[in-house]
């Protein structure tokens, strides 16, 4: 069949581990899908000569679960839970991107009040810190600094406690939904967040003390995995990968959404595009995110936690026993769902990994006709061969860690 012919015309280039003995000093090895340092089920086919990597070909698709296809069979409210599971280390950020896209499609963006915006920003920034903590822990673990892993996860537990407090769920919360939040933030929320923000600056200082000027860390990360700004832009790399290469692009600042324009924060930008710069960018981002969390906490206004539109927001349970319209709205919302007008939207947000985009096409029915997710790790991973070709084998591990990929969103 034609597809198989196209598939089989791909061969590894001449002169690499060839049987006819042209170059017998290279080896083609598999950094297989099961590998502790690939951060998920990523397969890399590396052609190496001694320790130097000549060619790196990523093979993805091991975590492909057909999320985009499944979303076509769910109502907009049901499809929300699918979005948690793509970048599974920052589910609230995925929820936020999806909610913004659906709200834009519905045309209810103006109904989102400040309380909802502040709450979303607060949770998204907490989620960013949590995601960066996982990155830091696993990246340091790969490069040999094993205790970092436990320190970072210990801090992350406090953030997961906050999520459990507001939504009942530690990770896949689906708490940010189109129309607002799933439930009001309970009293005592402030104290829970402060339990984290009070100790985190000290912990961050400790992480800097351990790694930032550590000779071993510098040797492993400085000058390794370089990506130039032009290459990063050409390959669509975004987030800390792009900022580490010197491009000062952060969607929260340049195309603000959900009230980010009201917050004061800085964007760390690197200059060399190597692993060390990306490390520093993320470390400083955690600090900035903490500032945003504190600002959101101070300035949190009062208000509804969900829009008053009965088509998008199911009525509270206590209304169902007395009010006929409430019962009907509840029934229609959970069985059929709301019908956005025909059209399409693409909304970009700054997820911890980079530019997360949701492209939703509506044909007027209650289910998305097409939902495509622009995953930041997909494009960032595409730039991996540029970072590692010509470097040593151990630099591959450093480079993969520095891109911060999550295979759930690469493969969807």
């Amino acid at each position: 069949m034609q597809q198989q012919e196209i598939a089989r015309t791909y061969t590894v280039e001449e002169g690499q581990a060839a049987d006819d003995g042209q170059r017998s000093d290279t080896m083609t090895i598999n950094m297989g899908p099961q590998h502790p340092s690939t951060h998920g089920v990523l397969r890399l086919i590396l052609t190496i000569e001694g320790e130097t990597v000549l060619k790196a070909v990523p093979d993805i698709g091991f975590l492909h679960t057909g999320i985009e296809k499944t979303a076509e069979a769910k109502t907009y409210h049901q499809a929300l839970v699918l979005t948690d599971r793509m970048d599974y280390l920052s589910p609230l950020c995925n929820n936020l991107g999806y909610a913004l896209a659906v709200e834009k499609l519905l045309g209810i963006e103006d109904e989102i009040n400040d309380k909802i915006k502040y709450a979303r920003v607060l949770l998204a920034e907490l989620q960013r810190i949590a995601s960066h903590l996982v990155w830091l822990g696993t990246h340091a673990l790969d490069l040999g600094a094993m205790s970092m892993f436990l320190y970072c996860f210990r801090e992350r537990e406090l953030i997961l406690d906050v999520f459990e407090y507001v939504s009942g769920v530690r990770m896949m919360t689906s708490y940010i939904c189109p129309g607002g939040l799933q439930a009001d933030m309970p009293p005592g929320f402030d104290a829970k967040v402060r339990a984290f923000t009070d100790i985190f600056p000290n912990q961050l200082r400790e992480y800097h003390n351990l790694l930032t000027n550590n000779q071993l860390w510098l040797e492993r990360t400085k000058g390794v995995g370089k990506l130039s700004a032009a290459d990063a832009l050409a390959y669509g790399a975004s987030g800390p990968v792009l900022r580490g290469s010197g491009v000062a692009w952060d969607i929260r600042k340049t195309i603000p959404y959900s009230g980010y324009e009201k917050f004061e924060f800085d964007i760390p930008v690197g200059s060399n595009g190597d692993v060390y710069d990306r490390y520093l960018v993320r470390m400083l981002e955690m600090e900035q995110s903490l500032q945003i969390v504190l600002q959101a906490l101070e300035g949190m206004p009062e208000g509804r936690y969900r829009v008053a539109n009965p088509k998008v927001t199911p009525p509270p349970k206590w209304e169902l026993t007395g009010n006929m319209e409430a019962l009907i709205h509840h029934f229609k919302f959970y069985t059929e769902g709301y019908r956005p007008p025909q059209g399409e939207v693409f909304v970009r947000t700054e997820a911890p990994k980079g530019e997360l985009g949701f492209y939703i096409v509506s044909d007027g029915s209650a289910k998305p006709y097409r939902m495509h997710v622009r995953a930041p790790s997909f494009a960032n991973l595409e730039a991996l061969p540029l970072m590692v070709e010509g470097q040593l084998l151990s630099d591959v591990v450093a480079a993969i860690g520095s891109i911060d990929i999550v295979l759930g969103e690469v493969d969807r």
């Binding site: 296809k69 499944t70 693409f346």
Partner: protein
């Protein structure tokens, strides 16, 4: 992108002026501009957008399957101009006059191409990997999940599905839960004798010992991704 008095002009107007025959339609919905192009002009317009109008960032390429419509598929490109934040503007053609009179602005654009007018099984359209190298994996994904062939793509093979898969899952006529997998498949021994990505290469250590000598030689009796024949 500004006009003679310095006001920003929408990209769609500039493109309409420069490539009058290329534009089929422009749509605006919720503040977003969509430019619908004819497939043969795609690369020219994309080149122009990337070089002259600073749309250096390709966010994503995807496709939508309109089963009942002819042409069947929409291939959708989302572009971003980083404006004053973007660096890496090497490669801009300095011989062409700059289209802007003041600093470029951040803008978003959607391009659409409708393919499949003849109702063919695998519609083709040109690749934009020459304009944005990052389009490589996105076009592979569209080929993998929809079956659209990109002319001139350096490496068009499946990216998410297994390489020997024969159908295109994101098409509307592909069932949500798929078809039964052929037996044996993945549960027992590996059902191919050549590694799909490495090919027929014999992996050897530097001393010459074969590394993949224990490959199984079971052949398939059903193409993966197709219904089970009775």
């Amino acid at each position: 992108m500004t006009d003679s008095v310095g006001l920003p002009r929408p990209t769609v107007d500039i493109v309409r002026e420069k490539f009058p025959r290329a534009v089929v339609e422009t749509v605006e919905f919720r503040g977003e501009q969509t430019l619908i192009l004819k497939p043969e002009y795609l690369v020219a317009v994309c080149s122009y957008l990337q070089k002259n109008l600073q749309y250096t960032f390709l966010s994503t390429i995807t496709a939508v399957d309109w089963l009942e419509r002819v042409p069947r598929y929409d291939v959708v490109y989302h572009l971003l101009s980083l404006g004053q934040y973007g660096q890496g503007q090497e490669g801009r053609d300095i011989t062409s006059p700059p289209e802007r009179l003041s600093a470029p602005t951040v803008s978003e654009l959607r391009l659409k191409v409708r393919v499949g007018e003849k109702g063919e099984e695998h519609p083709t359209l040109p690749t934009v990997t020459g304009v944005w190298p990052g389009a490589n994996w996105y076009e592979r994904e569209v080929y993998d999940l929809f079956g659209l062939i990109f002319d001139g793509h350096p490496d068009l093979r499946r990216i998410l599905m297994p390489i020997e898969w024969t159908t295109h899952p994101l098409r509307k006529d592909y069932p949500l839960t798929g078809f039964d997998l052929p037996e044996p498949h993945w549960g027992g021994q590996v059902p191919y004798d050549t590694d799909p990505v490495v090919g027929n290469l014999t992996l050897r250590t530097p001393d010459g010992r074969e590394l993949n000598e224990n490959r199984s030689k079971i052949t398939q009796n059903q193409e993966p991704g197709t219904p089970k024949k009775p």
